[in-house]
C-alpha cells in the first residue's frame, strides 16, 4: 500500500472528486492547497513526497512553488507533476521555467493521473543514489559528474571536503549529534554554492563526513573561504560550553589512548581540471587524496587549491 503524501496545489475544484477518491483508495494522503502562502509554508515545514501542481496556480505562483520545492533540502527530489491544458503545448513551454518531472493534461483522467504519479515515484527511486542523511547525490552521481567535467575540457575545481576530528566528536557526543554536524556541513556547502556559484555546479556526499563539490575553477577560492567562514560561525552551536572553553575535547585515539583533540574544523582539498591534466576521475581522486593528506595536517580549518604551477592555500580567518 502506498503511503505517499501528495500536495495538490490548484484552484478550487481543480482535482475532480473521482480522481481524489481513486488516489485516496490507493493510499495517497492528499493535502489540497488553494493559496500560495499555505502551499509554500507546507513545503517548508512539512514537505510532501509528491507535488501535483496546476499551471498558472495563482498567477506565477506555480513557478514560485516549484522554486520552494527545489529549495527544499530535506527532501531532495520531490517529483512535480504539472497539470495544464493540452492547447498550452501548442506553443512550446519553456521547460527551464518549468523544471517539472512530468505533465498531465486537463480534463484529468483518474487512472492516467494515478499511473503518472506511480511512475514518477518509481523513477525517483531508480535515480536515487542520494545519501539518506543529507539527500545529496552519492558516488555514482559523483563519478558521472566528474567525467562530465573532464569531457567538457573547461577549467573546473573538484573540491573534497572533510571534517577534522569527526570520529572523536562522534564518540564523545554520540551518533545523533554527529549526524547533525554532517548535515550542518552539507547545508553550508549547498547554501554557499547556491549563492556564489550556482551555474554548472555539482554537490555530492561520498558518505560519512566526506563531501565533493565541483564548481568553475575561478570561483574556488571565494567559495572555499565562505564555506570556512560560515562553518566557523555556526560550529560552536554543535559543541558543549565546557569543550569550547577548553578549546579541545578529550577522546580515545586509534590505539585506545586518551588524547586531547582540537575542536571541529574542516579541510578542503581542491584539484583543478584545466588544460587536460586529467583523463580519468580516478586520477583526480588520487591527486586530491595527496593534497588532503597535506591540508589535514594544518591546524584549524583550511583549504588548499592545486593549480598547474602553484598551490593557493588559505587558513581560517578567525574562529570568533
Amino acid at each position: 500500500m502506498n503511503m505517499s503524501r501528495l500536495l495538490v496545489a490548484g484552484s478550487p475544484g481543480f482535482l475532480p472528486p473521482a480522481a481524489r477518491t481513486l488516489l485516496e483508495a490507493k493510499g495517497y494522503q492528499l493535502k489540497v492547497c488553494e493559496q500560495l502562502p499555505e502551499a509554500v509554508a507546507l513545503v517548508l515545514e512539512d514537505p510532501p513526497d509528491l507535488l501535483l501542481l496546476e499551471k498558472g496556480f495563482v498567477g506565477d505562483g506555480d513557478q514560485r512553488l516549484i522554486k520552494a520545492v527545489s529549495g527544499c533540502l530535506q527532501k531532495g527530489n520531490i517529483p512535480i507533476i504539472l497539470v495544464l491544458e493540452l492547447t498550452e503545448l501548442e506553443t512550446e513551454l519553456d521547460w527551464g521555467v518549468y523544471p517539472v518531472d512530468d505533465i498531465v493534461t486537463l480534463p484529468l483522467v483518474p487512472s492516467l493521473l494515478l499511473a503518472r504519479l506511480q511512475l514518477a515515484e518509481a523513477r525517483m527511486m531508480r535515480v536515487f543514489d542520494n545519501n539518506p542523511l543529507s539527500r545529496l547525490p552519492g558516488n555514482t552521481s559523483i563519478l558521472r559528474a566528474m567525467q562530465r567535467v573532464l569531457a567538457s575540457g573547461n577549467d573546473y575545481a573538484v573540491c573534497y571536503v572533510d571534517i577534522d576530528n569527526f570520529k572523536p566528536y562522534n564518540d564523545r557526543y554520540g551518533f545523533s549529534r554527529g549526524d547533525e554536524v554532517i548535515l550542518m556541513v552539507a547545508r553550508i556547502i549547498v547554501n554557499v554554492i547556491e549563492e556564489k556559484a550556482r551555474e554548472g555546479s555539482f554537490i555530492g556526499h561520498v558518505g560519512g563526513d566526506d563531501y565533493v563539490f565541483i564548481i568553475k575553477a575561478e570561483k574556488a577560492e571565494e567559495v572555499c573561504r565562505q564555506i570556512i567562514d560560515n562553518f566557523n560561525m555556526v560550529r560552536n552551536l554543535f559543541l558543549n560550553a565546557e569543550d569550547i572553553a577548553a578549546g579541545a575535547f578529550v577522546g580515545l585515539d586509534r590505539r585506545g589512548q586518551e588524547t586531547r583533540f582540537p575542536l571541529l574544523s574542516i579541510s578542503i582539498a581542491v584539484v583543478t581540471t584545466g588544460e587536460g591534466r586529467y583523463r580519468h576521475s580516478g586520477e583526480i581522486a588520487a591527486a586530491a587524496s595527496q593534497l588532503k593528506h597535506y591540508v589535514k595536517r594544518l591546524e584549524g580549518s583550511n583549504y588548499l587549491i592545486e593549480r598547474r604551477d602553484s598551490c593557493v592555500s588559505g587558513q581560517e580567518m578567525s574562529a570568533a
Partner: protein, 296 residues
C-alpha cells in the same frame, strides 16, 4: 487555582497550540521581496533586515529548529539560521509569511517595542561580556511572541484584556492573568518550546516578567527583563497600558550594574534607536505608498 480557571487555561492552551502562522508586517515583506529579487543582495544584508522583524525572526528560528532541518533545539542565532537554511528557503519563507497582510497600529507599536528591546539587550549583553550577545538580542526581539499569539488566536479575549487595562488601570500582564488565568510570557514560552527553540530563547521569553523562574539561562532572562523595562520606560510600545513593569530584585542582583553603566548604556541605546526609528518610518512610508498604488 479553581477547577474552572484550570479548565479555561486548558482551553486557551489548546487554542494556542494550533498557532502555526503569525502575522508579520507587510512593509518588511515588500522590502525583503525587493531584496530577494536583487541578485547583489547578500545573505548577510537579508539577515540584518530580518532581524528587524520579530515575527519573521521567530518563524526563521522555528523552521531551522524543526525536526525537518535536523538541528532540533540547537540554533539560537539568526545569522546561523540563515547560513543553514540558505537564501532560497528564506525567500520561500517570505512568501509564506505574507499570508497575513493586515496590521494595525497596535502591532506597529509592539513591533517597535520588540525591536527596541532587542537593541537594549544587545547593548547590555555586550557590556556584560555575554558570550553570544546576538542570542540575547534575538530573545529580546521575540520576547512578546505570546502577545501576538493571544491577539491572533483569541481576538475577543484580547480585546477584553485591553478593556480591563483601561477600566481598572492595571497593566496588561495583570489583566491577562485575571481574565485568562495565564499571561503572554507563559504563552510565548509554550509556543517557543513547541517550535523546538533552544532553552536559551525559551527561558528569557517565558520568564521576562519574573526572571527568578529561569533555571538554565538566568542571566539572559534577567537581561531581557531589564531591557523590556528600559524600553518601556523610554516610551516604546505601551498600547493602552502605560505602566512600566516593576524590576525584579533577582534580575538586578544578577546584572550588577553601576549608575555609570546605566548612563553609558542609555547613551549607546539612544544612538542605536535612531536607526530603528528611521527604519520604522521607512516601513510606514512604504506601507502607505503601497496602499495608495493599486497592486499590479
Amino acid at each position: 487555582m479553581s477547577p474552572e480557571q484550570e479548565q479555561k487555561r486548558e482551553a486557551i492552551r489548546k487554542a494556542l497550540r494550533e498557532v502555526k502562522n503569525l502575522p508579520t508586517l507587510p512593509g518588511i515583506i515588500s522590502k525583503l521581496t525587493k531584496m530577494a529579487d536583487d541578485p547583489d543582495t547578500t545573505t548577510e544584508q537579508m539577515g540584518r533586515t530580518i532581524s528587524k522583524d520579530h515575527i519573521l525572526a521567530a518563524k526563521l528560528l522555528k523552521l531551522v529548529n524543526s525536526a525537518f532541518y535536523g538541528f532540533p533545539q540547537r540554533i539560537s542565532s539568526l545569522s546561523s539560521a540563515i547560513i543553514l537554511l540558505g537564501f532560497n528557503v528564506i525567500k520561500s519563507l517570505i512568501i509564506s509569511a505574507s499570508i497575513f497582510e493586515l496590521m494595525e497600529d497596535q502591532d506597529m507599536e509592539l513591533w517597535e517595542h520588540s525591536l527596541g528591546c532587542a537593541v537594549v539587550c544587545n547593548v547590555l549583553a555586550k557590556r556584560l561580556g555575554v558570550s553570544d550577545p546576538e542570542e540575547v538580542s534575538t530573545a529580546g526581539l521575540i520576547h512578546d511572541l505570546g502577545k501576538v499569539a493571544i491577539k491572533m488566536e483569541l481576538p475577543g479575549e484580547s480585546e477584553q484584556v485591553s478593556a480591563l487595562v483601561v477600566s481598572r488601570q492595571i497593566n496588561r500582564f495583570e489583566a491577562e492573568r485575571e481574565l485568562l488565568g495565564l499571561d503572554h510570557a507563559e504563552v510565548g514560552g509554550w509556543l517557543a518550546k513547541s517550535w523546538n527553540l533552544p532553552a536559551k530563547l525559551v527561558e528569557p521569553i517565558s520568564c521576562h516578567h519574573d526572571p527568578s523562574l529561569a533555571k538554565a539561562e538566568p542571566l539572559a532572562a534577567a537581561i531581557v527583563h531589564f531591557a523590556d523595562i528600559v524600553i518601556r520606560g523610554m516610551g516604546y510600545g505601551h498600547g493602552p497600558d502605560i505602566w512600566v513593569p516593576a524590576l525584579a530584585p533577582r534580575a538586578w542582583e544578577l546584572l550588577r550594574l553601576k549608575p555609570v553603566d546605566i548612563d553609558e548604556m542609555l547613551a549607546e541605546v539612544e544612538e542605536k534607536l535612531w536607526d530603528v526609528k528611521g527604519f520604522s518610518l521607512d516601513i510606514k512610508a512604504e506601507a502607505q505608498s503601497a496602499t495608495q498604488v493599486p497592486k499590479g
